[in-house]
Amino acid sequence: MWGALGQAFAMVFEPYTIFVMIGASLFGLFVGAVPGLTATMATALLVPVTFFMAPIPAIAAIVTATAMAIFSGDIPGCLLRIPGTPASAAYTDEAYALTKKGQAELALGAGLVFSAVGGLFGTAVLIVAAPALADFALKFSSFEYFWLVLLGLTCAVFITSDRPLKGLIMLFLGLLVACVGLGNPAGFPRFTFGNTELLGGIGMISMMIGMFAISEIIRFAVDTSPPAVMVVEKVGNIFAGQWGLAKKYPIQILRGSALGTLVGALPGAGADIAAWMSYAMSKKFSKEPEKFGTGHIEGIVESGSANNSALAGAWIPALVFGIPGDSITAIVIGVLYMKNMNPGPTLFTTNPQNIYAVFLLFIIANIIMIPLGVLCIKAAKRILKVPRNILMPVILLFCAVGTFAINNALFDIGVMLAAGVIAYVLEENDFPIAPAILGVVLGGMLEENFISSMIKSDSNLLGFVNRPIAAVLAVLTLLVWFTPVVMTMLHKKVPLEEYIHH
């Protein structure tokens, strides 16, 4: 183990990796701070560049950029009342209220400090939980994997979306996309319509660049809301009073981080849902809930740590099972496959140095976040003045070239554009995107494990629940399926008026 750890240190502290991390940090801080550019988009934009790097610098770029982006999303939320990334939306009003009271530095400082704390907490859980889970998962056969994937997809539909039906349809659409091409157990070309480009399946990376970057550009192009006004003249010392906050709200920090890690680890739900949930939780358990919404720091402390811890939590299922915990890790899994670091329990046994390197990267990213974050806050005024009408077309061009770079194929640009337009239209109509992403990423795995389980058990469905772990996973899956149904039935018995009040 120590040998592997030493190797990991050597890989991470190589000058090139450090250089990449600093570059990625600045990029992430910028992307997060510009409203309309999200952390997921940062990841998608990084993929064409990381494509040409060794595995560890590539992962380093993504880990640092996303951690920075989730923090710096707080900055425009605080100064302009526009969240920089969806993960900051939960407490944007609160932070802006603080700014109007003249306490912008307190809100920004809490965002920065407790982002780092949450991120480190999530990392600690990742370091402890992932190897243990991997050890356990080594015993898994196709039956367990089938149920696990199904459970993950189920979570994405039911837990993370308030519209299960639309979520379910999106999941099926994603699975359908995953069917395209030769990559199925029978090696039969499906849905290719005689097109050779489609034989290899629809490129996951080009599709995600489309879904997360192109759709945002379209959204910007049709945005009619007037420009926001900045109220702050000067931001003072952001560290003043942070220690006091840490002493005043230790339980909140711990609760936010724990909930964030958990939500992050659930497939389909990422930092944004973690922030909303922990903000709500903070309000519910607060001693002074009446102060929420009027510029009260408590909720920011809790949900600010939650969204950064979710980031690390999402890597747990991604590394151990190849099941993405959020949309960022969905892209990461694609990158890992490209780098021949296929996620799964064997990654921990055959190449432990790579895993240790990932852990180290997370720790470093969350530590360098503090000095770099201070710089970013100082530069915030200038970053927020960047003309987005120049930035967006440039990003569009960059996406097109970046997508082309992966296979040197114009066809991929077409896939990117189609995915972007479809994602935009569906999102505008309240269809959640996360289940579709999960369907695409996991479709192949689900079918493969299903078919090989069917063959092993001679098409006997009872074989799916014969092994104890498989049976437990099956029960869990069915439980998630039927709980909402039972809940709605129970709800219907409640008189209508009371139902409306809920």
């Binding site: 560049v49 040409f52 039906l165 639309k166 379910l168 349809i169 099926f172 659409l173 699975l175 359908l176 069917c179 199925n184 157990p185 029978a186 039969f188 499906r190 849905f191 192109i214 550009i217 379209i218 192009a221 049709v222 945005d223 009619t224 003309p387 009408n389 120049i390 967006m392 077309p393 440039v394 569009l396 061009l397 960059f398 097109a400 070239v401 970046g402 082309f404 770079a405 040197n408 114009l410 640009i413 077409g414 990117m416 554009l417 337009v421 239209v425 569906l426 505008e428 109509n429 309240d430 269809f431 079918e447 299903f450 078919i451």
Partner: protein, 148 residues
């Protein structure tokens, strides 16, 4: 809103149905299950849409669809990528990218004096980053006698 969603859903689902191939059990089983799932989901959505039909207008358009400039911007974002796919090989990356950026800058109201210079500089920067540093074979097109 429900109906706008519905129309989108129907469009997608109609296309999804005939795609189900009737080949041997192996490869067709999974798409079959998926198609069935989508079909059922669509039917429920249609039913819900039908029930809500009385109260909801047939098509709710977002406010931006009434502003010609925003409609044009949306079309240009999509159109410029199509333009890139169609002419990048023959026209070459540098020219295609510059034209694309100039058009998009124009519709997004970038001041005129910035428009062309920024477009040219950005095109060259991206060309340099991808062609020179990452060795991506971006096409030269009509400029291929002046390769540098």
């Amino acid at each position: 809103m429900v109906l706008a969603a519905l129309s989108a859903a129907i469009l997608i689902h109609i296309q999804a149905f005939p795609k189900t191939p009737g080949q041997n059990v192996g490869p067709a089983l999974f798409p079959g299950i998926i198609a069935a799932g989508i079909g059922i989901g669509a039917l429920i959505l249609i039913a819900r849409g039908w029930a809500a039909r009385v109260r909801v207008p047939w098509l709710t358009l977002a406010p931006w669809t009434r502003s010609p400039r925003h409609v044009l911007a949306c079309l240009l974002v999509i159109g410029s990528v199509v333009f890139y796919i169609l002419v990048a090989d023959s026209l070459g990356f540098l020219l295609t990218a510059t034209i694309m950026l100039v058009a998009l800058f124009a519709v997004l109201q970038v001041p005129l004096r910035w428009n062309l210079p920024v477009a040219v500089i950005v095109s060259f920067c991206i060309h340099f980053a991808f062609y020179k540093m990452l060795k991506v074979p971006l096409p030269w097109g009509v400029l291929k006698d002046h390769i540098w």
